[in-house]
């Protein structure tokens, strides 16, 4: 009997670690997607941004974010978790696990690992929206605040057992906590940053700035799709009995179906609106489907999951066009995919989960949006005043690869003096 309990603990811990590793792989997905959708002269910089934000997120979450988000009994109130300090809980001993009668069923550190990759995902949503014209270190400074404070606070209110959770707000894997939060922080950044030079004409025209590498963008999308199985699958939190194993399987299937629905719907919408089948819309459609199902991938049937994803796919096309019309320049569609469809994902929960209510979902949506928007605007605003957030016009023309990184992503014709090549 004890052996089975220990094995269950090990399996559920292993499950957290493996699904967490899959979510970590989404960082590669974002990197490739963004690298493919920016111009060649800005590619090295966005890759640098992606790898460094991941590192910042991990460190800030360890230093303070995790204990803000999951204070446990040490929480001060439903709205204020208190500052718990650096990660350092001792892990469970076998004796404690056996004595807990099933309450303690995973390693504490595996829980941290699973959560830290989520905050990194939320932060990487911002990097695409501010691409091609933001100062790298200004961005990293924002990442410090976002991953150390802004994200953990609203995460506490839901997953940490805080006020939103008490209200009955449901968000299985984070359409709100991760995607809406990231999309809103991105929106705040873009509002203060301004559009890329040449994007919007003085006469109101919108000029496309095509991405440099469609294969990378597609690769990135498939990597994100794969990683999402960890994102949603791991959020079931248990796999070690028949009921839970079945649940996990259903979550995987629904996640997959929603992505598929999103792709077809976005492709069809783009074809009807533009007369051509836009690959980038298909890619955004897949991601929109995934974001849409993330709030509730367990209770829908696979057919309903497909439909929820498809609706996300339709919404994202219109959101991208609409946000562009508002002169909000988002090179990769992050605000549309994660922010707007994140909202849809939260509302779609009521379609299949009887325990959810529209009021609770709207409340959670509103609180996450308002909190993130206000704190992000303040943070971006302070950084803008102190450091500046935008590169110079000259640097924007030359490409931020040269200005920020001093190297090119696709160097050729270098012909340097003295290197002998």
């Amino acid at each position: 009997m004890d052996g089975i309990t220990e094995l269950s603990y090990a399996l559920d811990t292993f499950y957290f670690l493996v699904t967490g590793a899959l979510v970590m792989w989404m960082a590669a997905g974002f990197s490739m997607l963004e690298a493919g959708l920016v111009r060649a002269k800005n590619t090295a910089e966005i890759l640098t941004k992606n790898i460094s934000l991941f590192a910042v997120a991990c460190i800030m979450y360890m230093l303070m974010g995790y204990s803000i988000m999951y204070p446990g009994d040490a929480a001060v109130s439903a709205w204020w978790p208190g500052f718990g300090g650096i990660l350092g809980k001792a892990d469970n001993t076998a004796a404690e696990v056996l004595a807990s009668g099933g309450d303690i069923y995973y390693s504490n550190l595996s829980d941290f690992f699973f959560q830290v990759v989520f905050v990194a995902t939320a932060m990487s949503i911002v990097s695409g929206a501010v691409a091609e014209r933001m100062k790298l270190w200004a961005f990293l400074l924002f990442a410090v605040v976002m991953t150390g404070f802004i994200y953990p606070m609203q995460g506490y209110w839901k997953w940490g057992g805080g006020a939103l959770d008490a209200l009955g707000f449901l968000d299985f894997a984070g359409s709100g906590v991760v995607h809406l939060c990231g999309g809103t922080a991105a929106l705040a950044g873009v509002l203060l940053l301004g559009a890329r030079k040449g994007k919007y004409g003085a006469d109101g025209s919108i000029h496309p700035i095509p991405g440099a590498n469609m294969p990378l963008a597609t690769l990135g999308t498939f990597i994100l799709w794969l990683g999402w199985f960890g994102f949603n699958g791991g959020s079931e939190l248990v796999v070690s009995n028949v009921a839970e194993a079945n649940n996990v399987a259903l979550v995987f299937v629904n996640t997959n179906m929603a992505a598929a629905g999103g792709v077809i719907a976005a492709m069809a919408t783009a074809r009807l609106l533009f007369g051509k089948t836009d690959l980038t819309m298909a890619l955004n459609g897949a991601l929109a489907g995934l974001v849409a199902i993330t709030a509730e991938p367990l209770t829908p049937t696979p057919l309903l999951a497909t439909i929820i994803g498809a609706i996300g796919g339709v919404i994202v096309v219109f959101a991208i066009i609409g946000i562009d019309k508002l002169k909000i320049d988002d090179p990769v569609g992050a605000i549309s995919v994660h922010g707007v469809v994140g909202m849809w994902g939260l509302l779609a929960v009521v379609l299949s989960n009887e325990e959810s209510t529209l009021i609770a979902q709207l409340t959670g949506l509103g609180v996450i949006f308002a909190w993130t928007l206000v704190t992000s605007l303040i943070t971006w605003g302070i950084i803008k005043m102190v450091l500046g957030i935008r590169v110079s016009e000259e640097e924007e023309y030359e490409g931020v690869d040269l200005g920020e990184c001093g190297l090119e992503a696709y160097p050729e014709f270098v012909g340097s003096k003295g290197s002998g090549i």
Binding site: L402, G406, G415, K417
Partner: protein, 112 residues
């Protein structure tokens, strides 16, 4: 007929293209090139080693126009491509012996 070749800064391409349209130039050819004149290159750093890149990205525009148009073309390009900073580029004018439209076989100024 004259061949007008202009080397300009890449971000000026749209402005130059519009200016040429406005004076009635119907066709141009554009190539991405790298080069330098008096504009200095920049230093790049790769894994600790520094190297100088002399060549800067530019765009080469070629337009073949009637001989009496070439002054207007030079003026249009000069104004549109000018930023006042080093590296704005140069314009070259040379003679064209013959022009043929492939589809119809027209020759001379009719083929422009």
């Amino acid at each position: 007929m004259k061949l007008v070749t202009a080397i300009i800064k890449p971000f000026k391409l749209d402005d130059v293209r519009e200016a040429l349209s406005e004076i009635g130039v119907q066709g141009i050819t554009v190539t991405e090139v790298k080069g330098f004149g008096r504009q200095k290159g920049h230093t790049e750093l790769y894994r600790g080693a520094e190297y100088v890149v002399d060549f800067l990205p530019k765009v080469k525009i070629e337009a073949v126009v009637a001989a009496d148009m070439s002054e207007k073309v030079i003026e249009a390009i000069s104004k549109a491509a000018n930023t006042g900073k080093i590296g704005d580029g140069k314009i070259f004018v040379s003679n064209i012996e013959q022009t043929i439209r492939i589809r119809t076989g027209e020759t001379g100024p009719d083929a422009l």
